[in-house]
């Protein structure tokens, strides 16, 4: 079985379960991917065997943890690519989605990260929600993570961050993160305490896994 087939199936399951549903029927997956039910059943069976899916009562299946992580990675690539194609290159939305489906299986994680932060820096047209969705902020990092600042939302609002050495391109280390989301970052050998709402405006380059 091709990796792209696995990824397509897992992505489809993720998409169907995204709105809070617990399980998916094989027929729904077949319908979403526009393949015959019998073909879908065969693939689903092998996905269960490989530990990507697990069977619940009846025919219903759901993603295992392993399956979920593969699915969400692919889904993210899909979104980033679709965003890039529509926002930056002006490709028609439906065509972009189709093309993203093909590209998403070949592109590396590194390239997606860079593409995502490249788009994060750009000014997207108002009203579209492409930007930001893919970007991780300081709040998504764990204690001990070392990350590179990609961009700051509202760069004029927090002048002091700039003066303390937190600017796009600078590497910072998360020294402390309280349960209530206040963070301390170390930059240039100094520890800086930052309120959650400000930390949320600092986008970082690669999402820590």
């Amino acid at each position: 079985m091709l990796p792209s087939t696995i990824e397509d199936y897992l992505e489809a399951v993720l998409e169907i379960t995204e709105n809070g549903r617990q399980s998916v029927m094989p027929q729904e997956i077949a319908a979403a991917l526009q393949v015959p039910d019998a073909a879908a059943d065969a693939v689903i069976a092998s996905l269960i065997e490989e530990g990507y899916l697990e069977r619940l009562t009846g025919d219903a299946v759901r993603l295992t943890e392993k399956g979920h992580s593969v699915a969400s990675q692919v889904a993210r690539k899909h979104r980033v690519l679709q965003c890039f194609l529509t926002e930056m290159l002006g490709v028609d939305a439906e065509a972009a989605s189709k093309e993203a489906c093909t590209l998403e299986h070949g592109i590396s994680d590194e390239t997606i990260d860079r593409l995502s932060s490249y788009m994060g820096d750009a000014q997207s047209p108002p009203g579209r929600r492409c930007r930001g969705e893919e970007a991780c902020t300081l709040l998504d990092c764990k204690e001990g993570d070392t990350v590179r600042v990609a961009m700051m939302r509202g760069p004029r609002r927090h002048r002091r961050l700039l003066d303390l050495g937190i600017f796009p391109g600078e590497v910072v280390q998360i020294r402390r993160k309280l349960p209530n989301q206040s963070v301390v970052v170390r930059v240039k050998g100094c520890d800086i305490a930052i309120s959650p709402e400000i930390a949320a405006s600092i986008l970082v380059e690669s999402c820590p896994s």
Partner: protein, 616 residues
């Protein structure tokens, strides 16, 4: 000759200033201690040298009050040399400001301070690169030990030629500087400042803004971000040349425990409660000693003299005022200021601010508000002054309301002297409970209704240090003497006026008039109202006045526990004292001051009346 000290917060500027001038400038280990300009004179070879201690700042391009003040000072150029003080253990960040100052092209001396700490951390410092790059004298100092401080003035006197520096900026910025220079004959610094939006030539600013917008759309970074990044990178290179890490020495990292939710929060609570307990217990013990001493060696001998009635009344009033003043100042206020000074100098306050950030958000402020709040337990006056740490007017308004409600040490005297002594220690803590609850509710309401933008906290966690006992005592002493200067005259005059009013029977008339009201509303006798009014002069006077008017210091014999409790609660909530009102006027304006005053009066009376209804 006039020299100015400039540098990041907590780098030892004020300490150096103190050592050079002998003035008692407050030294604190948290950002924003020096907000006004401190000036002092020193003599060198029979020449008078004026020193100006500028507030600690991180940058010359920000919009905060301190930054604007320093920028204005440098632009005026009314200074013969600037002395840039840096913390050598955080050199890279400190160099960022140093480079900005150097761009002004004033004669300059660089002080690399805290070499003692740097040595402890295994850093080797080479002053050569900074000297060569900027063409200025570089002095290595350890201000806490007074090492090499004596070289600063001679070096400043010798510094005649302006500092030179050319920070390599991004080529778009450089191109912008060149074209602005051609169009408006502006020099490099002026063009650069125009790109950042500073300056007084509207045409230059307009052109600079257009270019800055162009740069921003090309780079996807604002011009300010690019310029800051270039400066930081240059600072990084210089720091690399200057510092060599010999051996990486292991450093104890207390922040491992101090800034975690656990055990950090219990430690924070423990420190606050412990502080109050110490002030309560040790304070009341010391107060008793002082009061008794006065009784036996001053008051009783004076009365034994058998002087004429009027003279005796006046003399007793003065003695009672002295007794009250000293009995409060030394045990409670000095003790409190010593503890606060230790906390400030150790750098713990910034940890407290970080931990409290979320809680402070709930009441409409950010973690920095912990500093005014803690100060307020000592005295509301310095606390109100420190609300300038908060950056928006919205936060300052909320803070000024809440800070005035915090029981200061004078109110602690009332709670300790009246409630703890005559009702019980549990009841005393319940007064705190009531006050904190009201502060919380007020904060929750104010954070909803106060207009204005919310700002979060961006605060440097200053390094933890062992406080120097000498400096701690000196600072506590300075604050205490300020207190004595404001309080003692008021206390003396108030006491004498009170004695005279009593002597001529005017007090009795007033009390008779208000007695029905106070009895009905609060269940308190008329003279308690007089005491409350005198409490406005200074809070602790309410206690003393009550004792004088009741005719005995053993209040338990004349008033019931409930009456004492209600009196204490009302006094604690009722109107900030005169000194607080004065600072409030200066910091937040007359409308807010009036609102705070009315609010606290109403709160005191309503809560007092409620307690009276509920408990009697």
């Amino acid at each position: 000759m006039r020299f100015a000290l400039i540098g990041n917060p907590s780098v030892g500027k004020s300490l150096i200033f103190n050592q050079l001038t002998g003035l008692g400038v407050e030294v604190s280990n948290y950002p924003g201690t020096t907000i006004e300009l401190q000036r002092g004179n020193t003599c060198f070879k029979r020449e008078i040298v004026e020193l100006v201690d500028l507030p600690g700042i991180y940058s010359l391009d920000g919009n905060s009050e301190e930054e604007t003040l320093v920028r204005g000072f440098l632009e005026e150029g009314d200074v013969d040399a600037v002395i840039v003080v840096t913390n050598v253990t955080r050199l890279e960040r400190n160099l960022y400001l140093l480079l900005q100052v150097a761009e002004y092209g004033l004669p300059m001396v660089v002080v690399l301070n805290m070499i003692d700490e740097a040595t402890e951390q295994g850093l080797e410092i080479d002053p050569g690169p900074i000297h060569d790059l900027l063409g200025v004298e570089v002095i290595l100092t350890a201000a806490s030990q007074g090492k090499n401080i004596d070289q600063i003035i001679p070096a400043s006197l010798a510094a005649l030629s302006p500092a030179k520096v050319e920070i390599p900026y991004d080529h778009h910025v450089e191109a912008a500087i060149r074209s602005l220079g051609k169009m408006f004959e502006a020099d490099r610094t002026e063009s650069l400042r125009a790109l950042l939006g500073f300056g007084d030539n509207p045409e230059l600013l307009e052109a600079a803004r257009t270019i800055a917008d162009e740069i921003e759309s090309r780079h996807r970074m604002t011009a300010a971000q690019i310029i800051a990044a270039n400066r930081h990178n240059f600072a990084h290179q210089i720091a690399d040349l200057t510092l060599k890490e010999e051996v990486v020495l292991p450093r104890s990292d207390l922040d491992r425990i101090l800034t975690r939710a656990f055990p950090g929060l219990p430690i924070l609570l423990g420190i606050l409660v412990g502080m109050l307990l110490v002030v309560f217990i040790v304070g009341s013990f010391l107060e008793e000693l002082i009061v008794n001493f006065f009784d036996v060696f001053a008051l009783q001998p004076f009365i034994a003299l058998g002087l004429p009635q009027l003279v005796e009344t006046l003399g007793t009033s003065v003695l009672i005022a002295l007794q009250a003043g000293l009995g409060i100042a030394f045990p409670y206020i000095l003790l409190f200021f010593i503890i606060i000074s230790i906390l400030e100098d150790s750098g713990y306050m910034t940890r407290a601010a970080f931990l409290a950030d979320n809680a402070m958000h709930r009441v409409g402020m950010h973690g920095g508000a912990v500093i005014p709040f803690t100060l307020a337990f000592g005295c509301n006056v310095p606390a109100i002054m420190s609300i300038r740490l908060l950056h928006s007017r919205r936060e300052r308004i909320i803070a000024s309301f809440l800070v005035t409600m915090v029981p200061c040490s004078a109110r602690t005297v009332i709670i300790a002297g009246i409630v703890a002594s005559f009702v019980g220690i549990a009841a005393a803590f319940s007064v705190y409970g009531i006050v904190f609850l009201l502060i919380l509710v007020t904060g929750l309401v104010l954070s909803r209704v106060t207009p204005g933008e919310r700002f979060g906290m961006i605060m440097e966690m200053v390094p933890l240090r062992q406080p120097d006992p000498k400096l701690v005592v000196k600072k506590a002493w300075t604050r205490l003497s300020e207190f004595l200067f404001i309080a003692m005259p008021l206390l003396l005059v108030g006491s004498v006026v009170l004695g005279l009013l009593d002597f001529f029977g005017i007090m009795a008339i007033f009390e008779e008039a208000v007695e029905p009201i106070t009895m009905a509303l609060l269940g308190l006798p008329g003279y308690a109202a007089t005491a409350l009014i005198f409490g406005i002069l200074r809070k602790e006077m309410a206690f003393e006045t009550l004792a004088i008017l009741a005719g005995t210091a053993d209040l338990g014999t004349v008033l019931s526990s409930l009456q004492l409790y209600i009196f204490a609660v009302v006094t604690v909530l009722f109107v900030p004292c005169l000194a607080t009102i004065t600072v409030l006027l200066r910091e937040v304006g007359s409308r807010i001051t009036l609102a705070i005053t009315l609010y606290t009066v109403a709160l005191g009376l309503v809560v007092g009346a409620l307690l009276f209804r509920l408990l009697s």
